[in-house]
């Protein structure tokens, strides 16, 4: 919303990573607007349910279109919007619980289709809005309200998952660097295919990972994050795999495949050959 709305009573906690992601998305949409000359209304932000999904109401400045639907279903909604109106720029914003747990079934099919959208996943490793239950990216053994004796399952590795399922653009970012994050998002928007921008967006209340991410020299904590070296070949799937499995959290573009056509392109190619028949003509084929 562009101005303060007195009825809207949702707030992120102070220091929440989602503030930075919101800023990055605003930057990215403004950048795109300047680059393409398209109006802001050509952007559609499809939001999941959770703290992160509220981003769609909290965007400042010029307003894009938004869709704040039901838990876990951002991707098929985004597919509907994009395939209905391919000229729109469709961005998904969802949390790790929404996207990887309840919505996990939708990633594979969209990756296989190479749906031309950009998904920004805000990973805080916890269900924040319901007050601190374990999520797919919560570390094994972590004590949360729903895992009082420690988390039982191994944590998911989202970057590896996206790579395995066939996403054609995979970037890893951090909410504390909105300018840099905006660039990753812009590349995702420009990418003609299924773009995943996975963002570490810490929850200051239930899972504060700022220190872990950035390190603390005084305490002798090494930062988990590191910038992906320039020599990394983003078109090399094997190199992407190795990068993901190194110690630490790579930040930057991990993988990019520009050879695969998007769902839209494939459909256009295939259906160009299909006969186009009027309803009258179809009706004729049943006449006798």
């Amino acid at each position: 919303m562009s101005k303060k709305n007195p009825e809207y009573d949702f707030k992120w906690c102070p220091g929440c990573g989602d503030f930075g992601v919101r800023r990055a998305i605003e930057f990215a949409m403004i950048n795109r607007l300047e680059e393409t000359g398209q109006p802001m209304e050509n952007n559609v932000v499809v939001a999941g349910i959770g703290c992160s999904g509220n981003l769609v109401h909290l965007l400042e400045g010029q307003q894009p279109y938004g869709f704040h639907g039901i838990h876990g279903r951002t991707l098929p909604v985004a597919m509907g919007v994009k395939m209905a109106r391919p000229e729109l720029n469709v961005v998904v914003v969802a949390g790790d619980g929404d996207f990887l747990s309840i919505g996990g079934e939708h990633i594979g099919p969209q990756a296989a289709r190479n749906l031309n959208i950009c998904a920004v996943i805000m990973d805080n490793g916890v269900y924040g809005l319901t007050k601190g239950q374990s999520s797919p990216t919560t570390q094994l053994g972590t004590v949360t309200s729903s895992t009082p004796y420690g988390k039982i399952e191994a944590e998911a590795d989202p970057l590896e998952l996206y790579l395995t399922l066939g996403a054609t653009y995979i970037a890893s970012g951090f909410s504390g660097q909105p300018r840099e994050l905006a660039k990753l998002i812009n590349q995702g928007m420009d990418h003609e295919g299924f773009a995943m921008v996975h963002v570490q967006s810490p929850c200051t209340t239930y899972n504060d990972t700022y220190e872990l991410m950035k390190g603390n020299a005084r305490k002798g904590i090494e930062p988990l994050m590191y910038d992906i070296p320039e020599e990394h070949d983003v078109s090399d799937k094997g190199a992407a795999y190795n990068l993901i499995h190194q110690r630490g959290l790579p930040v930057g573009v991990i993988y990019k495949d520009e050879t695969r056509p998007s769902l839209q392109q494939r459909l256009e190619d295939i259906k160009a050959k299909a006969p186009r028949r009027s309803v009258e003509d179809l009706m004729d084929s049943f006449a006798f």
Binding site: V56, G66, P76, K82, P275
Partner: protein, 571 residues
């Protein structure tokens, strides 16, 4: 004996030509001016399994598949054993003597179907052998079938003549063989070719064509019996600029992609059956809440869970009217004939656009697979409606006011958030009690836009009336006509607009002492809905997976009518 009506049941194993024989007979008959209607039931497997299809051929327009079988064509022994009892007294059995032999049934004769087909040099002419046999039994002129063969197989191929000759030979062989058996059934009255243009359609084809005529842009779906044929139709035919048809990975994807498409400005539709419909529950609630036009076709089958995937039932009504949690009541249109499939689809898409929300179009297995000749729908009379679209004016908010309001479309002015949480007029989440009151009333208030007085009514002065819904219309109407002939006075009401009901109809129904509702479910779902709206309605229920027999309805309506009148006298 003159016959105005002729019912043939083909029974055998999937893949033996059971369905094609019935549909071929229906096509051949309509070609020369008869009316035809088929009833099909399939085994839920790819090949084999017991299956049967019934074709009813008549000089008059047909309402049901027919209670009594005049001729059973049994492709194997199991089919004979299962279906023999449904053959009327004086009816006949033709059995495939290449498959089995039968002794001791003096109303049967063996037809070496495969062998006769082979001698024509065209193994695929087996259907024609049977048709030749049937034609002889009802004294149908050979020329009728030859006309059909000509129309069907003359396609401009080099071997057209060869194919046509072999089929005509097959007809003749079937006819000759039957003539030697000595059996005849009667003389089917010569047809009167209807003066209006006709098409021969299955219910699901009629729905597909109706949706296209209403301007459908966007179709997504997931395969499920008996709705799959609509997906297949759309994948093939919904192509072109701005059109999209696509198979997605689940019904959850279907409904949510549909929401995206509807939100982005498209006329969007999917078709599914019970299990898929259940998966759409949350998405349908979102459509209601965020005010997004879309249509879901529910092709009912036996339920719950996987239930009876290839049998017919009318047991999804409550699920369709109240598909989601929270305060939701979706508009429901239920079609009862192949013709209504076409016009019901048009109406459903128009309703979705008009009130900006999800509409459920209900049909059922027996109708989906029914082949019937109908009056060709006049496309020039179809009037597609389009939602009110916001075209710019500063300061507008999407959910403004207590009534329907123009819908902004992405790319255009009026950016807002389509929100599944309770929201204010800008689409932002709110928890204010007064706002929830206002928005709830706004959503329910829009249903008023769908109140139309389209319904059938006869004998409106009678205190007792029959009012079926959906596919039970046919057998119920046939029963009603028979009751009229027998001098039993009851009223007749019917509408495909189940929710909201036509207000005048509801008013009339409330005046009735008793409204009898034939419906294919255990609970009497529609009569329950009517009772909740102040109508004294009682159901005639059946839950066999099969449609009503007219005879049963005549009997039960008579009983209910009589016992009601006795009670009134006592009172």
């Amino acid at each position: 004996m003159q016959m105005r009506d002729f019912v043939v049941r083909f029974a055998g194993e999937g893949g033996q030509g059971v369905v094609t024989s019935a549909e071929g007979l229906a096509q051949a008959s309509t070609q020369v001016g008869y009316h035809a209607l088929t009833y099909a039931t399939f085994p839920s497997q790819i090949l084999g399994g017991p299956t049967w299809t019934q074709a009813r051929i008549s000089v008059d327009p047909i309402l049901s598949a027919g209670d009594d079988v005049d001729v059973l064509v049994a492709f194997n022994r199991e089919a004979y054993d299962t279906h023999r009892e449904d053959v009327r007294d004086g009816g006949l059995v033709i059995y495939n003597s290449n498959d089995f032999q039968l002794d001791g049934d003096d109303r049967s004769y063996g037809l070496p179907i495969d062998e006769l087909a082979r001698t024509t040099g065209n193994n695929r002419a087996a259907n024609m052998v049977i048709m030749g046999a049937l034609a002889h039994l009802v004294n149908m002129p050979q020329t009728y079938l030859e006309e059909f063969v000509e129309a069907r197989f003359r396609r401009g191929r080099a071997n057209d003549d060869e194919i046509i000759d072999s089929n005509n030979l097959a007809l003749k062989l079937g006819r000759d063989e039957t003539s030697q058996s000595g059996f005849v059934l009667g003389d089917l009255t010569p047809p009167e070719m209807p003066e209006y243009p006709q098409v021969m359609l299955k219910g699901n084809e009629a729905i597909s064509l109706g949706a296209l005529a209403a301007g459908l842009d966007f179709y997504v779906g997931y395969p499920i019996s008996p709705a799959t044929t609509i997906l297949v139709f759309m994948e093939r035919n919904l192509v072109g600029e701005g059109k999209f048809a696509y198979q997605v990975s689940s019904e959850i994807e279907s409904i949510t992609a549909l929401l995206g498409g509807g939100y982005a400005g498209k006329k969007a539709m999917t078709a599914t059956a019970g299990p898929g419909f259940s998966l759409m529950s949350e998405g349908l609630g979102l459509g209601w809440m965020a005010e997004i036009p879309l249509v879901v076709v529910d092709v009912q089958r036996g339920g719950p869970a996987t239930g009876l995937p290839t049998k017919t039932e009318q047991s999804d009504l409550l699920a369709c009217m109240f598909p989601a949690h929270g305060d939701v009541k979706l508009p429901v249109i239920a079609v009862g004939t192949v013709e209504e499939c076409f016009f019901g689809a048009v109406k459903a898409l128009n309703w979705a656009e008009r009130y900006q929300g999800p509409v459920i179009l209900m049909t059922e297995m027996a109708l989906a697979e029914r082949v019937q000749n109908i009056h060709r729908p006049d496309l020039s009379k179809v009037q597609p409606e389009r939602r009110m679209i916001y075209d710019g004016n500063n300061g507008y908010n999407r959910y403004q006011g207590n009534e329907i309001s123009p819908m902004p479309l992405p790319g255009g002015p009026g950016a807002y958030v389509a929100n599944g949480s309770e929201h204010d007029e800008m689409g932002d989440t709110t928890h204010l009690p007064s706002r929830h009151v206002q928005m709830t009333e706004r959503r329910f208030g829009k249903l008023k836009l769908l109140e139309e007085n389209e319904y059938e009514a006869e004998n409106t002065n009678e205190p007792v009336a029959v009012m079926p819904w959906g596919g039970s219309k046919g057998p119920a109407l046939e029963a009603f006509n028979q009751l009229q002939e027998q001098g039993v006075s009851v009223g007749w009401y019917y509408t495909m607009l189940l929710s909201p009901l036509p207000p005048k109809l509801l008013e009339e129904l409330r005046q009735k002492e008793l409204v009898i509702v034939p419906e294919l479910n255990y609970q009497g779902q529609f009569s329950g809905i009517l009772r909740s709206q102040g109508v004294n309605a009682v159901s005639i229920t059946q839950y066999t997976g099969l449609p009503f027999k007219v005879r049963d309805l005549v009997k039960r309506i008579t009983e209910m009518n009589n016992s009601h009148r006795k009670e009134m006298v006592r009172a």
